[in-house]
């Protein structure tokens, strides 16, 4: 963060580091709120998907014509599971289409260990999904308002000219898993977090709302923007995939850049950085 680093303690050991307050209370609370929401939304979402594991393009689902782009299913004759993506079929027996539930083969798109509830239960999945969807939206609103008021968004997330110049170097450092602990986010972090918060989150919420027949009647334009209800469903699924990809990379970066310091910074807010002000261009961490 750009505000004057609060000095909590100085001169730690030989390497001359200091603890600063890196994440405000609201930043930490909203972060963990999203973590919980994403866990529940992902697993309940896969449960809901299992009720009709086919994705289409357009307003409606083609039963007598073909507008499907993805299907997960089971071939009962051969006892194999498959995923069919743009007409290319892959055998996914054991994971997608057919998987073990309590030791027995069961025909279901996503396996029991990836859905919530674990058994086939669309009603339960929807209850979980919509509860945490609201939770997710409220968190985003609190974050947005507080972030605008306290300057978190402007100071910590919007990239400046310096960020754009150091983007390539920061990107390469991240690829090489080379990290420097600085008070502020480096350019690649600002960009990634910014895209997640201002692009991925809104699109995943809007594409979800675009599937609601009630919301559709209130704001028909939203469903139209996505190109119809079934395309909105496909976009919703795709952005779930993007968000899951972000989560995996986020975890890798944390493990690589020093999990103790980083987890502390998002739990207590305290974060250890190199004490001497260093010229930017290096890479920080997640």
């Amino acid at each position: 963060m750009k505000w004057p680093a609060k000095k909590i303690s100085t001169s730690h050991g030989a390497t001359n580091t200091k603890l600063i307050l890196r994440h405000r209370f609201l930043t930490r609370v909203t972060h963990w709120s999203w973590a919980i929401c994403l866990f529940f939304l992902l697993l309940s979402g896969l449960q809901i998907f299992n009720a009709h594991p086919v994705l289409y393009i357009g307003d409606q689902s083609g039963f007598d014509f073909s507008n499907r782009i993805l299907e997960i299913g089971a071939n009962y004759k051969t006892g194999t599971g498959f995923i069919d993506l743009f007409g290319i079929r892959l055998d996914t027996t054991g994971f997608l289409g057919i998987s073990k539930t309590n030791g027995f083969d069961s025909a279901r798109a996503f396996p029991a260990w990836l859905t919530l509830p674990s058994g086939q239960d669309l009603a339960g999945g929807r209850r979980v999904h919509f509860f945490f969807a609201w939770f997710f939206v409220f968190t985003l609103l609190i974050w947005l308002v507080s972030g605008l008021v306290n300057g978190h968004i402007r100071k910590d997330l919007i990239p400046g000219g310096q960020d754009l110049r150091s983007l390539k170097a920061d990107f390469l450092n991240h690829i090489k898993l080379k990290f420097y602990h600085t008070a502020q986010y480096v350019s690649i972090q600002k960009l990634t977090y910014g895209i997640i918060l201002f692009v991925v989150f809104p699109i995943i919420i809007l594409s979800g709302l675009a599937m609601s027949p009630g919301f559709n009647a209130i704001f028909p334009g939203i469903t139209e923007i996505f190109g119809g209800r079934q395309t909105a469903r496909t976009v919703h699924f795709l952005f779930m995939f993007i968000l899951s990809g972000f989560f995996i990379i986020h975890m890798i970066m944390i493990l690589a850049a020093g999990p103790i310091n980083l987890v502390r910074s998002i739990v207590t807010g305290r974060y250890r950085i190199e004490a001497s002000p260093k010229s930017t261009g290096g890479s920080s961490d997640e």
Partner: protein, 263 residues
């Protein structure tokens, strides 16, 4: 300066393993919380009334579901749920092209009704090309023709305390020791009086087929498919849903689904 070197492959492996372990261990253990009756389930269910209130507030109850063009009808209407009732009373009516059928309207009304198909067809008709959205996730566009429910309710003269219309259907969903359970659904008066809420007897310019709910089915265009009761036998106006079966207002609602299916 902290330069940490870990092999990428090992790191990826560890991350995936940790993630899977959380999911594996987590899901089973969370199942009891989601089961009906648990306090956590009750909390989860509260989100449904929030969705209902917010959507009603935004729409004032009057917003219209999108209506499509004939050219958007690209296939026959996909049929789901009961597609061929085997109930004797229903089969008898069907064998006679439903000429002996009559819709009963009763409950909190000043004027009980019994309307045969000819009478229903002579009432002002509404045709609408709409998208049917199933709770499972699929959608299908079709043209529905029928009489507005508001027309029928106005004829029946609802009492002021009537708040819900309950639909009792011909099709048996379950047969058990305590008898059979036939499909039932309910909507409130706001949806009942909505201009697109119709009792349909026609589909895609033909007589409504059995698979899609002949002779008469409900269309509640701003909600998911399970609200659109098929094979409607009677309509009862009530003040509360408490006394209907298990008290949640519908067959699927009594099995965990939300009464408000606008989302």
């Amino acid at each position: 300066m902290n330069n940490i070197n870990i092999t990428r492959r090992r790191l990826l492996g560890t991350t995936l393993a940790t993630g899977s372990a959380i999911a594996l261990g987590g899901c089973n253990r969370l199942d009891p919380l989601i089961q009906s009756g648990h306090t956590a389930r009750t909390i989860l269910e509260s989100a449904s009334s929030l969705s209902f209130r917010v959507q009603r507030w935004l729409s004032s109850g009057t917003s219209l579901a999108r209506e499509y063009q004939r050219s958007d009808i690209r296939q026959q209407q996909h049929a789901n749920g009961t597609i061929s009732p085997r109930d004797v009373d229903y089969l008898n009516l069907a064998s006679n092209q439903f000429s002996d059928y009559s819709l009963k309207v009763n409950g909190l009304v000043g004027n009980e009704l019994s309307l045969d198909l000819d009478t229903l067809r002579k009432l002002p008709a509404r045709a609408q090309i709409t998208r049917h959205d199933c709770v499972e996730g699929w959608s299908c566009i079709g043209e529905w023709t029928g009489v507005q429910l508001s027309t029928i309710l106005e004829m029946a003269k609802p009492h002021p305390e009537a708040r819900f219309a309950v639909f009792d259907c011909f099709d048996t969903m379950e047969r058990g020791l305590s008898g059979s359970v036939k499909y039932y659904e309910s909507i409130d008066m706001v949806d009942a009086m909505h201009s697109q809420t119709i009792l349909a007897y026609g589909l895609n310019q033909k007589t409504l087929p059995v698979a899609n709910g002949a002779p008469l089915r409900l269309r509640v265009e701003r909600q998911l498919g399970y609200k659109h009761a098929k094979y409607v036998k009677s309509i009862t106006l009530v003040a509360t849903l408490k006394d209907i079966a298990r008290g949640n207002g519908g067959y699927w609602e009594d099995r965990g689904y939300a009464w408000y299916a606008g989302i």
